[in-house]
Symmetry: C2
Subunit: 355 residues, 2 copies
Amino acid sequence: MIPKTLEEIITPSLIIDYDILMDNISKMVNFVKENHINIRPHFKTHKCIDIAKLQVKYGAIGITCATIDEAEILCKNGIKNILIANEIVDEGKIRRLINIVKKDNNVIVTVDNEQNLRKLSCFAKRYNKCINVVVEVDIGLNRCGREAGYDTLKFVKEVLRHKNIKFKGLLGYEGHTVFIENRKERVKECLKSLEKIISTKSLLEKNGIYSEIVSTGGTGTYDITGGYSGITEIQPGSYVFMDVKYKRVIKDFKNSLFVYTTVIDKKSDYCIIDAGYKAYSTEFGIPELIGKKAKIIKIYEEHSKVKNLDSKFKLGEKLLLLPTHCCTTVNLHNKFYVVQNDKLKHIWKICRERI
Amino acid sequence: MIPKTLEEIITPSLIIDYDILMDNISKMVNFVKENHINIRPHFKTHKCIDIAKLQVKYGAIGITCATIDEAEILCKNGIKNILIANEIVDEGKIRRLINIVKKDNNVIVTVDNEQNLRKLSCFAKRYNKCINVVVEVDIGLNRCGREAGYDTLKFVKEVLRHKNIKFKGLLGYEGHTVFIENRKERVKECLKSLEKIISTKSLLEKNGIYSEIVSTGGTGTYDITGGYSGITEIQPGSYVFMDVKYKRVIKDFKNSLFVYTTVIDKKSDYCIIDAGYKAYSTEFGIPELIGKKAKIIKIYEEHSKVKNLDSKFKLGEKLLLLPTHCCTTVNLHNKFYVVQNDKLKHIWKICRERI
């Protein structure tokens, strides 16, 4: 039976408030238009083709993604201008990348290592294709990427030696700054990061190398990176949904994603709901209950224990939780129930499978 | 391309060592045979029909599960004698339960609340079916369940008044004791729990009520509950796989489940692997690297940062991680690669979808 109303939707499940989602997409569209910046939103947050298509419809130049599986799903569904913001190292995956290139020769992959570059080049040659790359610069996250400045210049020169590899520009991610709650501090740290990638871009220019793309920026820094001279595009993901963690940082977008759950047991001072570790993630903290003076005090795989503060609960009552991290919560579900005015409007698939 | 060897399997993925899995299943079979106890292993750990069938083939009387989705998948795949060790409260789900009853009238559901009982009874009557129930007793976990003793007796008497409800016995879960590392302490706390359910069983008998089933026991307490007079069956799940957390408690079973990952970046004092929050769970701690003097020091969605202690890493090198919690790690993947002597033997589906 397909549910028609919010009340009929089974739990545990994910609910999207359609109007808030569209409002978030629209606010970001207005921002990028006003700032003459491109946006290539990150797929990893929603893993949903319907949302990706809405983002493209409202002006995104393409979609950023994290894995070869995500890139394949995007390509299969006709999304163009995919940027894989990650190194693809495994030979099996490089073969899959070539298959994507065959269908969409605008796909771009990230590279930061000579050995990986040679392998990409070798496969591109073998299949007589050209692979577009952006070079990742470590702008302070201290994860992947070349050192800003001469180390990147040296590597880009190496990239340019490979005929079947096309250098498109630079990619950085200031992920260490996106959650800094104090805006002044966040701006300061983010600018330090941006200075690294832009000075590297300038160094390349002085050496006659043009960067068509300079991509940075998450939801926590979209308005800093998006207004910074030299950055050509931003790649935020979470702004469509928001969550407890991001809501502390960014007020421009509203929470549109909720975990829906049922009270399955009721005791004198607590109740048990049918959502636990298998329905929401906890690495950023414990979800908040919407509209109830109560809190989750213990989590199990399929249950949470909710302490009544001054809320009363009924057996079978349905509750909305606000997740603390949208990306890893979405990854636990296989569909979104999209609701408008308490009526079910869409059921959208979440493409979380790995090939 | 279907991989043939461990080396060819794409990452991040889940690997099962087939021989260790079978050895774990076999050890548990021997235990239950020697102790003349039934086993109805928990599906929530592996969510895999192939493993459930192996468990049944080697002597399990049925399968325990946590959700109506799991019960449906089991029923659809011909598994008989399913025990849903959880309260099914929502009307939509009770309708789905009735559909399972139509195909397998041995299915049993857990109940602990009058309102829920009346609803189950009402639906059973409407569809002219009989629903088998076990009554949950809270034996110390302090989650769902009636209080041991008179409170349970009172509720069981209520259950017996409903003609379309068949009382099968009692269910308890000593989940608060399964991870106590000191065995003496674990035995002591577990026995306190068992005493609660067995004394309740005796109280029911004194009132002329026979419990065909008394089901308790997780992997951490299987050998305590499995040898305890009056307990008719145990319901452990994790023993097939084990993990870092359980390995500290129980030495009888070996680790058969691993997260497989690739080194995708290499720096002077760390490397980056392609497994993060979306490939393994962390609520019980951070996975261990197999055969390497190195440790995970930072986790992202699709990456982990691994600090070299005295290990050297190669770009593209594949590593095995030992998850800290098997159940919630399995839930992040859609298949198991089952390996024997480094050769791929099977690919088994993980049924993690929700209906």
